[in-house]
Point group: D2
Chain length 318, copies 4
């Protein structure tokens, strides 16, 4: 039996640990592993490597993905997905493990439906923006990276009595901003899930400045609005020119945390078990502390629930 493995979409810490788990667990069960480079593109180019135990030595602690990743435009077209199946079957591969986000899973769903290739999807994205799973690979690491950066920012903003706006990743999902902001000690967190009133924030900060509290941190998810515009509005209402920092791609890298490594191992092991047991195409994840799986289309239809009550409680602490 042979399994294909690829990483797709944005890279995330823990992808390497997950590939290692898949390869070693599969090999210990007599299953061969083909790694395809740069996501679906690697299948189309038949750019692959046969993975041995030692191919994945010393990578559990490394950020990124040694199989590399890419977004593959061609794979949006049916003819290329059929070509991919032909190439996979040429190698005797009927089962594919895709580590990626919802765009990658959409491709997986179509590949599976159109060609009968079985795909198991593992959630790998720092954004934590998949509704069917409580956690995605890389999220824990990214949030810890952000609170480290916030720690640095607090040193300097406290030295200057500054209001600082920090933009973090998250186009549709404010989980990084919310979690890193409120545990990083930010005064405000602006996320796509919750309306906010920049005028009210400006007034509160102006007022608290009169009482002596002069440094304030506002953490902003990408998806909550354009930082420059929000800062301009803030300045208009408060008369205070805020500092702006965009953390950018440093959030994507770094050695994965223990939790992301462990989740990577558990999901990698489970995906191999499912394939060995003849699963249909599914995505796996973690819900209420347990590994779970769903049919791909079912998973992709779910809408992420925002924990508003936690949000409101946490705000009382800031």
């Amino acid at each position: 039996m042979k399994i294909g493995i690829l990483t797709s979409g944005g890279d995330a810490p823990g992808m390497n640990a997950c590939i290692r788990a898949i390869v070693r667990y599969a090999l210990s069960n007599g299953i061969e592993c083909y790694g395809f480079y740069r996501g679906y593109q690697g299948i189309l180019d038949d750019d692959h490597v046969v993975l041995k135990r030692t191919s994945v030595s010393n990578i559990i602690q490394q950020g990124g993905t040694f199989l590399q990743t890419d977004r593959c435009e061609d794979f949006l077209k049916s003819e290329y997905r059929r070509k991919a199946a032909v190439i996979l079957r040429k190698h005797g591969i009927e089962n594919l493990i895709v580590i990626g986000g919802d765009g990658s899973f959409k491709g997986a769903e179509l590949l599976s439906e159109e060609t009968g290739i079985t795909v198991v999807g593992i959630p790998g994205t720092i954004d934590n923006d998949l509704a069917y799973t409580d956690r995605t690979l890389g999220f824990d690491t990214a949030v810890n990276t952000v609170i480290g950066a916030i720690n640095n920012l607090r040193d300097t903003m406290q030295s200057h009595n500054k209001v600082t706006f920090v933009e973090v990743m998250g186009r549709r999902c404010g989980d990084i901003a919310f979690n890193a902001g409120l545990t990083g000690g930010a005064e405000y967190v602006l996320i796509p899930e919750m309306p906010f009133d920049i005028k009210k924030i400006a007034e509160e900060i102006t007022e608290s400045a009169l009482k002596g509290k002069k440094s304030n941190l506002v953490v902003l998810a990408e998806g909550a609005g354009k930082m420059e515009e929000i800062c301009a509005e803030f300045e208009k209402f408060s008369g205070i020119k805020p500092r702006q920092t965009r953390l950018g791609f440093i959030q994507r890298g770094g050695s994965p945390t223990y939790y992301d490594r462990l989740l990577a191992c558990e999901l990698g092991i489970e995906s191999v078990k499912m394939i060995a047991n003849g699963t249909d195409s599914r995505v796996i994840g973690v819900k209420d502390g347990k590994i779970i799986s769903y049919g791909i289309s079912e998973a992709l239809k779910m809408r992420k629930q925002f924990n508003r009550s936690l949000y409101e409680d946490m705000y009382k602490l800031s």
Copy 2:
């Protein structure tokens, strides 16, 4: 309404974040907070501080506990527990939040039974050795500290072809060793929950050395046996003199991870809510991703289950 707060037993990263959450959430609900220094001893000495919002500024990111902690021999005696209740009631305090481990909860149980003071226990210990909760405050930070240390050790052991034994904390519970070891890339993990055969390990390492694998990492929980003796046995069977490292108290400190800060906030908020709603004495924790609570004696009677299947699966990766 007034709440007493103390930290007891071994300190753990996240205790400060938890005190902050309790104080700010309580104050936002009109509840006053008295912090007692050095655990139960602080009640007996009436060594306390009235905590304001600003008393807990800028501590969410700090390891340790600014209320300090201690083991209190006197509190093992009923007369001192009665004295503690008298002092608490002198201040109008009928509810106490205790952040600590099972020894601290035992004291809490007796205080509650004998005097009618309501105690809510929050699990704060890096060891993760409480059966009723999946996680204790400080565990996530400690495991990340250990994998950081292991990363350093791997640099040097790979430069030398060395077998290295690392002892980590965990007298009764191998969770730190197991989680940090297997996600740190250790070849072996020795824990109190699982028998091990040092002769077999010695033979396997000797054999793999012949095939070219010359550096091996063995992570050992305190409770699995004396490191010196285990290393001596290993040397006897393998002829290889291993390096020994005991990580010690560095595992107790450090800025808490995002997860420990978040858990600290959630448990702190919940403890205040329970008290505001007139709870009886209970310990709280997290199970399957949800905040849960138990009667203290019920919780203390539980036995921690070891996840043997995960252990065996993870071993196939190492």
Copy 3:
């Protein structure tokens, strides 16, 4: 005898360690210390604190400056400098220690000349842009922060075959970019001290991509040009759209490295010794491994020499 202390201009890691050293060394010599908040503004507002040994406990490891810092427009005018001297003398302070950069030293020079107050300047700025000293407080920490961030960026750019441009601090001086870039493994470093040809870089990167080298890191000092324009030019010549990251204020914070702490202690001690020995106004620093000092105007006239030969040698390694 009494000494005034202030931090001025941009904050830098090591300022707290330096204040601690000044205070404790002065007190051990029977000299009192007045800390003024927010730089020169704190003198004008007579916003000060008398510093004791315990006032500076537990700050050696903290970034930023607890005395805070600010740029003070008023101090550019002679009348305010005279007012400052009056306030200092009201407290019996004839000697002032200023931790800051060249703007702060310019103010110090004028204050000294016009009023006879003796000022000793200590170089505190992450930019390392003072010609008279090999190192400024905060530079070592900032460069280490940047190579940490670069490490994260490399994980993700290697996963994506991306060309990444990173902007780091340094308006007039490329030391952060040069040192962090070449020791961080960057392929190119763009600094104000050296001309560069973005067309040639684009061509080289395009050519090396053909040979299989697909990820490239370009580190850019603020003063070398506008990142957006340089990236647009790069894209025009290469056809490759680069990623852009601006590290921003995270470079200013963080716990100081050992070297910055040690330098802070040595400069702090030396400044007190000089004052105790009746020095005239001077700035101190480190040259060829030794603590040195210059008259302020002499120091400010020096022009920083760029080590072109090191630059060229280092480039051969990248």
Copy 4:
């Protein structure tokens, strides 16, 4: 022209960066590089690799040495050194670069004298125990690792009012203990270079405890005495049982700091330049901020000077 390269003795962060610099600088000058594994043993076994530019890609940030290191008993005998020269000359290698400490340099001196092979020695050891150079590769990283560990220890000792003894590396040289201790905020530093009176320390700590200062940190170099004995004495005189922590091998690993990477590059470049210019056998290093070199026997005869005046001044701050 061909150069041999090896790393010998204890590994140190920066060795990889130095090998990279040697290889790339040599290749850019048309010189071939042979890396020998496990120090001198690799020559005796003729266990070598021809190093290309890409052989040293992506290692500048890695601790340890990919060429590995070992202590080689055989090399203490003249016959083996002559054998080594024969093997080197078989490959056409007349010049050898040895990265290591004084034991390795002693071997280099003898090899050079007896066989005429030219050896350039680069100081690579975390201990900073070579008299002829101000800095050795790995020292800056090791001290930063130790102050990070001390930071963790301070969290927990402050939570417990504990006296903590920490043993750090340094058999003959207290530089790690002195530098990390005093910049880490330790109250006492015990080093082989300075006598100390444990009774007096015990009395001072007992006395300061009465005044409310209850947590104290004592940093101890390996060479200052046996930790267990010193702690027993301390307990006898003070009645306080101290915590003991031995940092061990974590001090050897970790990603090198910027300074160690830069020094590695500069020394690597210089060693190649010297060989290209037909140098005799020498060791190189850094003195007063400049790269310097000495004849090997001259260097090995020097005695390291202890900076007692800095020691005494720094103590006034603790």
